[in-house]
């Protein structure tokens, strides 16, 4: 990936370099400032929030009262559990199903490999449409069930293609020797192939996890019961639509200002991604490129 410094090409002039640095700095600031503002406001003291009329960029002191009321067992706590459940269970199921399919498709000489591969590839060309998809989910009885957030989006054809490309690049000799030693497909897959694929498994796993954590569309479409809402729907209702969160929803008497509660909900939904981001980042360029090049 890294570009070597090209010999014989003159270094750009100083004004040019300063100009580039400046442009880049502005871009990065535009990305970072919203996050800083949100995190600061969520921990800022009430007085400062009221004075500033909304967002705070630098809190004068730090208090966690907004978080205390969020985690007191009300709407947000429940949504957090739903989101965590959907993300963990969904990611595990997605990874299992995708890896099994990708491994079968990567095996040379698998008699049904070609038709199944075509089924996978063609599904990437079109999307089924909102209405028929809704009716299908309704038809299999998933409406108003937490599984509606997992099952319809459990497998992504793109991720299967990336995994397959990775499995196909593993040296053939390794699986062959396992076979000669008497290992069946399941043994070869779980003891030889999977341990060699940790890098791609972590990338694809994290892609799935981010998708589950961020899922808003399926929740909006399939869930009427607000008890099943994941974090993203709570975020929409109480932050974007600005519905007031009272003590009934929060399950606590003590009420910090709306602004800091709203910002705390935002932070709660951002932080998990910020935590996995460094791990994700190490591998993702490679993972994305395998998919793009080999697809």
């Amino acid at each position: 990936m890294s570009r070597k410094i090209v010999q014989g090409v003159p270094m750009p002039s100083w004004p040019m370099r300063i100009f580039k640095g400046f442009v880049l700095l502005i871009f990065c600031a535009v990305v970072i400032i919203p996050f800083v503002g949100v995190i600061s406001t969520s921990v800022a003291p009430n007085k400062q929030i009221n004075e500033s009329g909304g967002l705070v960029l630098l809190p004068k002191s730090i208090n966690f009262s907004a978080y205390e009321s969020l985690f007191a067992g009300g709407v947000v706590t429940r949504a957090l559990f739903v989101s965590i459940f959907v993300t963990i269970v969904g990611t595990l199921l997605s990874l299992t199903v995708s890896c099994l399919l990708a491994y079968a498709l990567a095996r040379p000489g698998f008699s049904a490999g070609r038709p199944i591969l075509l089924v996978v590839l063609f599904s990437m060309l079109f999307s089924p449409g909102i209405i028929p998809l809704y009716l299908t989910v309704k038809g299999v009885g998933l409406l108003d069930s937490i599984w509606a957030l997992i099952v319809p989006t459990m497998i992504s054809a793109f991720n299967v293609v990336v995994l397959r490309a990775f499995f196909m690049n593993l040296p053939n000799e390794i699986t062959e020797s396992a076979r000669i030693d008497g290992a069946g497909e399941l043994k070869t897959f779980s003891y030889i192939v999977l341990p060699l694929s940790k890098a791609v498994l972590s990338v694809i796993g994290l892609f799935y996890a981010v998708a589950y954590w961020n899922a808003f569309f399926s929740a909006l479409l399939y869930l009427n019961d607000s008890k099943l809402w994941p974090l993203q729907l709570v975020l929409r209702t109480y932050v974007i639509n600005d519905t007031q969160l009272g003590s009934a929803e929060l399950g606590t008497e003590l009420l910090p200002p709306q602004a800091s509660i709203q910002m705390a909900i935002l932070v709660v939904s951002i932080v998990p991604i910020l935590i996995i981001y460094p791990f994700l980042q190490r591998h993702f360029a490679k993972g994305v490129l395998t998919g793009a090049v080999k697809g």
Partner: protein, 314 residues
């Protein structure tokens, strides 16, 4: 015997025997394939309700056929449908002009940096918004640009006129476009940076020996090196051109009203899932899907005519 069977191991087996031999692999492939068929191909069949007078309590099978009646909103140019189509096309246009080239420019900027370290730090920052959900992005924009947002607070405290950007129907299309740029420009540079790193450095050396300035090198070496990937991504983009951000728009529809915010996808959702006009909504969705596939196929053909690889061969 052993030699012969290892040379042509498959010739002696019938299809049934081969499938029996591969039963473990078939079992491996089963759950994933079943899910793709159930949630991608079966709904495709569900599109028949576009030709039916669908009654939820009767089910798809028992509902009456209605011929092309559901398509009349399209053929007769129903105002609500035309409004959705118009907004979709405006947004597609804005995205092609502003969203599409943005990552190319940013990738060129990142690629021209001489410090690997600065480049890497900038990349980690610029990729981040891609991993945020639309709900978070919309909420962040509200906090920054809304009535009591950071921008207006600043303007107010300096006695300047405040501007209402969120909830302003005139600026809505611009707002949507800038949200997409904020969210995905950094991430989209990945592919362009990879393509840039593939360009042979000898081409640059040769060009500079021939006396080409840096601008000339950009024009004659860098941009031709990016041509393949730019065309490929543009074709893929074309296939999605009638899909302009369902989540992003539905989140903000309340604030500005349907006049400027209704697009084909929200039309389908609002009329079908919320309004109960299942058949009409399915008809619009079906036409949209078909047009999308036709656009990809056509664009691919055009790419081949220009000698480019396109999405798939031939």
């Amino acid at each position: 015997m052993l030699q012969r069977s290892s040379k042509h191991p498959q010739q002696r087996l019938t299809l049934g025997q081969r499938l029996l031999r591969d039963r473990v692999l078939l079992l491996f492939a089963l759950p994933g394939t079943a899910l793709i068929i159930a949630f991608h191909y079966v709904p495709l069949l569900g599109n028949v309700i576009a030709f039916k007078d669908y009654q939820p309590f009767l089910g798809i099978g028992a509902s009456d056929w209605s011929g092309w009646a559901n398509f009349s909103v399209i053929f007769n140019g129903d105002p609500a449908f035309l409004r959705a189509l118009k907004n979709t096309l405006i947004l597609t246009g804005l995205q092609s002009v502003f969203v599409f080239p943005a990552p190319i420019l940013l990738a060129l900027l990142l690629n021209s940096l001489f410090s690997e370290r600065i480049k890497r730090i900038a990349q980690s920052i610029l990729y981040l918004p891609h991993f945020m959900s639309w709900v978070i992005v919309v909420a962040l924009f509200q906090q920054m640009l809304g009535g009591s947002g950071l921008l207006n607070n600043y303007l107010r405290s300096h006695d300047l006129t405040t501007i209402d950007i969120i909830g302003n129907s005139e600026l809505f299309h611009v707002l949507l476009t800038s949200q997409i740029i904020w969210k995905d420009t950094g991430w989209a540079t990945i592919l362009f940076l990879a393509a840039l790193s593939q360009i042979d450095s000898q081409l640059y050396e040769a060009a500079s020996v021939d006396g080409a300035s840096r601008m000339k090198q950009l024009w004659h070496v860098t941009l031709p090196g990016l041509r393949g990937i730019i065309i490929l991504l543009f074709i893929l983009r074309l296939g999605d051109s009638l899909t302009v951000g369902f989540e992003q728009i539905i989140l903000q529809q309340q604030a500005v009203g349907r006049d400027v915010s209704e697009v084909l996808d929200t039309y389908v959702y609002n009329n079908g899932v919320l309004g109960g006009a299942w058949g009409v909504a399915a008809a619009v969705g079906l036409v949209k899907g078909i047009v999308g596939v036709i656009l990809v196929l056509t664009a691919n053909k055009v790419a081949h005519m220009f000698g480019e690889q396109g999405v798939y061969q031939r």
